[in-house]
């Protein structure tokens, strides 16, 4: 039974990371209807920037996280201004390829600056802790707590503040939002900033129990796409529930079936679910 709870904990950890990444992705999709393939590269950039802050500037973990969130938010806004905005009237294919261009640029940039090697990020919470009779690394608990707090804050921001409501309004109806005086440019920039910051924080939370390297975003972003398809593209609760489902499925599948094929589970789950329900788990109508 202990092993079961251990896997549950692992599933919640990784599910929390997936949820944060998927939330950023789904927010951008809701506003712009662009599947942002560069999101995984922003996640990777977040880890490297924090790594740089900690190793070269000697900042502590939390300051590095804040700094990296700020830097990636700016990167994300630049991507919107310089790439997605000029392409707003182009066919959807062009947005996707442009996002791939950003991805190539950021990945090659990180590799040119920091090399293709794997780096280990130190965290002040690497010690073992005991909770409810389970032994685990403190960082894992921090990830779960961090994800819960961030999701709660984001939820309050989106539903209780005027700025947050403008985002929801624009996701519901772009023209309608413009008609009631919402500044589309500002809201879009804000969404990109939030999305980039979420990716960076997720990366800094997850890096100490994983590794930092230029290709670290690939699998995470692809799984985040699986999550937002399952949860319904642009759906906020869908991203959270989907993230947890994939995280738990991977933890239990990796433990009870095979660790070799752990990364396959998310994709097979997607294929199976979409074969039965092509419209996704949570969306009511067809796309």
């Amino acid at each position: 039974m202990d092993l079961f709870f251990q896997q549950l904990l692992n599933g919640l950890t990784i599910g929390g990371v997936y949820s944060l990444v998927a939330l950023g992705l789904t927010l951008v999709y809701g506003i712009l209807h662009v599947p942002n393939f560069a999101h995984g590269a922003l996640y990777m950039a977040g880890a490297f920037v924090a790594f740089y802050f900690m190793e070269s500037l000697g900042l502590n973990y939390w300051l590095a996280m804040l700094g990296s969130a700020a830097v990636v938010a700016v990167l994300s806004m630049l991507a919107e201004r310089l790439v997605f905005h000029p392409l707003r009237n182009a066919p959807p294919l062009h947005d996707m390829i442009a996002a791939i261009g950003i991805l190539l640029f950021l990945e090659a940039g990180a590799q040119a600056i920091w090399g293709a090697d794997f780096h280990r990020m130190q965290s002040p919470y690497g010690n073992l802790v005991e909770i409810f009779g389970l032994t685990t690394v403190g960082q894992r608990l921090l990830i779960i707590a961090g994800a819960v707090v961030l999701v709660a804050v984001l939820h309050l921001f989106l539903t209780r503040t005027t700025t947050g409501l403008t985002i929801i309004a624009m996701a519901q109806n772009r023209d309608g939002a413009a008609l009631v005086g919402i500044d589309a440019t500002r809201v879009t920039l804000l969404v990109f900033a939030i999305s980039g910051a979420l990716a960076a924080v997720a990366a800094v939370l997850y890096s100490p129990i994983n590794l930092v390297y230029p290709a670290m975003g690939h699998l995470v972003i692809t799984k985040a796409f699986v999550i937002i398809i399952l949860g319904g593209m642009g759906s906020f609760p869908g991203a959270i529930v989907g993230g947890l489902i994939i995280g738990l499925a991977e933890a239990f599948g990796g433990f009870y079936f095979s660790t070799d094929y752990k990364d396959l589970i998310a994709f097979v789950l997607l294929v199976v679910i979409l074969s039965v329900r092509p419209q996704g788990l949570f969306s009511k109508g067809a796309h």
Binding site: V83, M96, I97, A98, I100, A108, T222, Y261, V271, H287
Partner: protein, 339 residues
């Protein structure tokens, strides 16, 4: 300029390709060109489903890897002859493509793209992890080069170059016949509007599936040639960046044209080769170049030329009309613009 259009233009291109091995002394350039042609065949296939049918398939590189592995494994582990394995590669890709198509083509737009991206990942992970069959990360080594027939040999760089060129020309010709047939027009109708195509009596699901299967057969055969020419395979071939490269070739050359993907497959590798001196910084330059191309040359090279020509022709027609029938011209100038 007139001379370079239509059949004469194609004849000139083929003639250039035929004398190319005699113009370069370096076999390295020859092998770069041979690989460009192989990717051009795959890009032609991707163009059928994406450029003509409007479904952005991100598993195309994965299907190319399936074709390559089919040839690689059948010739080494099961001692099949190259050409039977090559035919099998096309057939296997067609069957897997049909099965994937049945599920994935029920989705539209971005969901289809992301779903196929995941299919590509499944292919990649299966090739990497299923070591008993695919040799995993070690890869497949010692694949024989295509067996010669009728006095032809495909062992030398030159022989392989001409073999691949022949397949490319054949592939482009068949693609030309497909897109100009009634079937090709129904593909374009699906791209332009699914609802309208269905209203015209085009069976939507079957048409899309057919385009998908045809396109992945191109990918599979290109993969088979790749296995015979490169003679070594690693799981990396199925990685998503290969798909992205194919998409790039298609887009830079001109999506929805036949010459475009071929031109892109030749030009882009030359461009990245010439950026070689930048080494690690190559993609740092290439990413922004790609974005600039998308913003300023959205139709690709061939597409832009075609657009310009169509506009000029329309303007000339309008002028001619205005000159011959000044009274009637004022009522019909819009008719010419649709050409």
């Amino acid at each position: 300029m007139k001379l370079l259009q239509g059949k004469a233009g194609w004849a000139l291109l083929i003639a250039l390709a035929l004398v190319f091995p005699y113009m370069v002394s370096n076999t390295y350039f020859l092998s770069v060109m041979t690989q460009s042609y192989i990717f051009a065949i795959a890009a032609l296939g991707l163009n059928l489903i994406t450029g003509y049918t409007g479904q952005f398939n991100l598993a195309h590189g994965g299907f190319m890897a399936i074709g390559a592995y089919a040839v690689g494994l059948l010739t080494t582990d099961y001692q099949w002859g190259f050409w039977t394995a090559f035919a099998a590669a096309g057939a296997i890709c067609g069957v897997i493509g049909y099965l994937v198509g049945v599920i994935s083509l029920r989705m539209t737009g971005h969901v289809f793209s992301i779903f196929t991206l995941c299919v590509g990942y499944i292919i990649y992970l299966l090739i990497e992890k299923w070591e008993d069959v695919t040799h995993g990360a070690v890869g497949v080594m010692g694949i024989p080069s295509p067996t010669g027939f009728g006095g032809l040999e495909f062992e030398s760089a030159k022989g392989q170059y001409y073999l691949v060129l022949a397949f490319l020309i054949l592939g482009a010709y068949i693609m030309h016949r497909i897109v100009h047939s009634l079937l090709g027009r129904s593909f374009v109708a699906v791209r332009n509007s699914e609802a309208l195509a269905e209203a015209l009596g085009i069976p939507l699901a079957r048409t899309k599936r057919l385009a998908f299967v045809l396109s992945v057969i191109y990918a599979g055969l290109a993969g088979g040639l790749y296995a015979g020419v490169v003679r070594f395979l690693g799981p990396d071939l199925a990685a998503t960046h290969h798909t992205f490269e194919l998409v790039m070739f298609m887009l830079v050359g001109g999506i929805g044209t036949i010459l475009g993907p071929i031109l892109g497959s030749i030009l882009v590798p030359w461009l990245t080769q010439s950026l070689q001196f930048l080494q690690d910084y190559r993609m740092v330059v290439f990413g922004p170049v790609l974005i600039l191309l998308l913003i300023f040359v959205p139709n690709g090279i061939v597409g832009t030329i075609l657009h310009r020509r169509a506009r000029r022709a329309a303007a000339q027609r309008e002028q001619a009309q205005a000159a011959s029938a000044p009274a009637a011209a004022s009522s019909t100038p819009n008719g010419a613009r649709h050409a």
